[in-house]
Symmetry: none
Subunit: 179 residues, 4 copies
């Protein structure tokens, strides 16, 4: 009796939970230990095969982690002010330094996936940049991609230091004003 009541049915829940565990573990491992898949499964407490079911290739996992970061950044870009957004983005990026450091040398920058993500990010930032330009707040030779470059360089370049990045961003923003 009660076969149709929503009791004790959970198979998909497991799967989703495992995927989440793997992504979380990956972020943690990447933040501190490099990019070993073995380390990820170990930390997730799951079998090797499970990782491969969810992410059939190395790249697939890296990309999934990366995509999530881009999403967060994209969400931020709904700000309506370029300067506010750049400051906020810098703060958020400071949070992820270890992970980016591990991920950067391991991602295949030629993959179509990468181009798509860049396009998404650029689109999100372009709105802010165009509005600032229209308002006469910035020079026109600086593109949305350039703005990303500055943020990424200040956050993840060799020698980057979160406690100085804000100051340097401000200098850059000053320089950005027309004249």
């Amino acid at each position: 009796m009660g076969e149709d009541t929503p009791v004790a049915r959970k198979p998909r829940a497991d799967q989703a939970r495992n995927r989440e565990r793997l992504l979380t573990a990956a972020r943690e491992v990447f933040r501190t230990d490099g990019a070993s898949l073995e380390a990820v499964t170990r930390r997730a407490g799951l079998g090797t095969g499970t990782l491969y079911r969810h992410f059939p290739t190395r790249e697939a996992l890296f990309q999934a982690v990366y995509a999530r970061e881009v999403e967060e950044l994209e969400a931020l870009a709904r700000e309506d002010d370029l300067e506010t957004w750049m400051t906020a983005a810098l703060a958020m990026m400071a949070t992820k330094k270890g992970m980016v450091t591990a991920l950067a040398p391991v991602l295949d920058k030629e993959a179509p996936f990468f181009t798509e993500q860049s396009a998404r990010m650029t689109a999100a930032v372009s709105g802010l940049r165009d509005r600032a330009l229209a308002a006469g707040q910035i020079r026109d030779e600086i593109t949305a991609d350039d703005l990303m470059r500055v943020l990424l360089g200040l956050s993840y370049g060799p020698g980057a230091d979160a406690s100085r990045a804000g100051v340097l961003l401000n200098v850059f923003l000053d320089g950005l004003r027309p004249r």
Copy 2:
């Protein structure tokens, strides 16, 4: 007995030449193929053991290569004008992107060696920065280390693009002027 008789004494020159060969090979390999020690010995045409005699650990070789890069940058900093130097440094750095990309993820940033190199670099840049400050050309809250950070970020940050770095540096330099 007779340790000091001039019998078949291998000249010091040989040793120095091998060291040089290894460093050169390492720079070439790092520039194009990643950071495999085997590739280095292969390209140097020397045995594994010889590599280990000169550089007893992985890290030691990486550091030796790194030190040489710092030297070149340091030499450049004998310029007498901050802006000229920054522009020149950017150009030089563009030259070494592959190598830095291979080296960065592999260097232990905590090593005391690293602090020493930074200090050397900072000392070299400080002169330029202090002179610019004295001449009222730049704001005082920017340190010599900050200047390095900007150069490194624009050159080697994720997304860095040599063809845009110059433009971005100019924006930054503009922002650097007092007021």
Copy 3:
């Protein structure tokens, strides 16, 4: 209560159909892609569990496929003439080279199953052989099993070549005549 009421009883037909699908898929996969169970379920469009319900071990599937091949060969042996049958059998075997190549290294030749199948095959060929012997067409030291060996060797031995097997079979048949 009501175990025997006609509620949603899955028809036997389904089960039989799935078994058939799996066997067909297995033959196709073995013919071209090796002997991976995963490939079989994928091609059959069924779940892993279903495969295991029908064939509780790897070996069981292999044997079922093998048994089917034996059946076909057995059916052929209703010919009434040894030479005609051997020629026809050779032609049929040429058809299955890929599958046999995949199956052979994977079957456990010690299994009792194997003895049974051999016995079946031997029984089928024995009739032909005995009749040929009675008619004075062949030497008596050659058994039915020997005849199978020759066919299998010419078809599936290393270096076997369908375009030469017929010629070689004819030589063998010539040699088989008494005197």
Copy 4:
């Protein structure tokens, strides 16, 4: 004293011995356990890397083992009589059944190496075959490759049985006589 006397110099000896150990281990493993490289190193009592230094790819090891078999067969073919040779070859092949069974599914038959070995073998047998043909002992439509096929089929085909192979070879040889 005595640095120049041939004492305590043995490095190459080690290498050659290890290579031999690996080949021997490989033959033993292939004869009984399939074709796992791990099993080979385990049986040889050597490290993984040593196997890879001597045989940089899977194929390299398989080919080295295979080449040795071909050599033995080739040496045999210095017989001056086709029938004697075929009988002797059959006896030798009986010795290697397990190994061939393991090796056959794993060798890349398209590799140039394979073509070379076949050519060597064919060349060796052709002499015997041509002499027999000139002496009017065999039909002319049978090639040296065909002779190899028969031997291989009788020795290594599915169902092959050393105790019957001799009888079957004799039937074939009878059939081979002109008329």
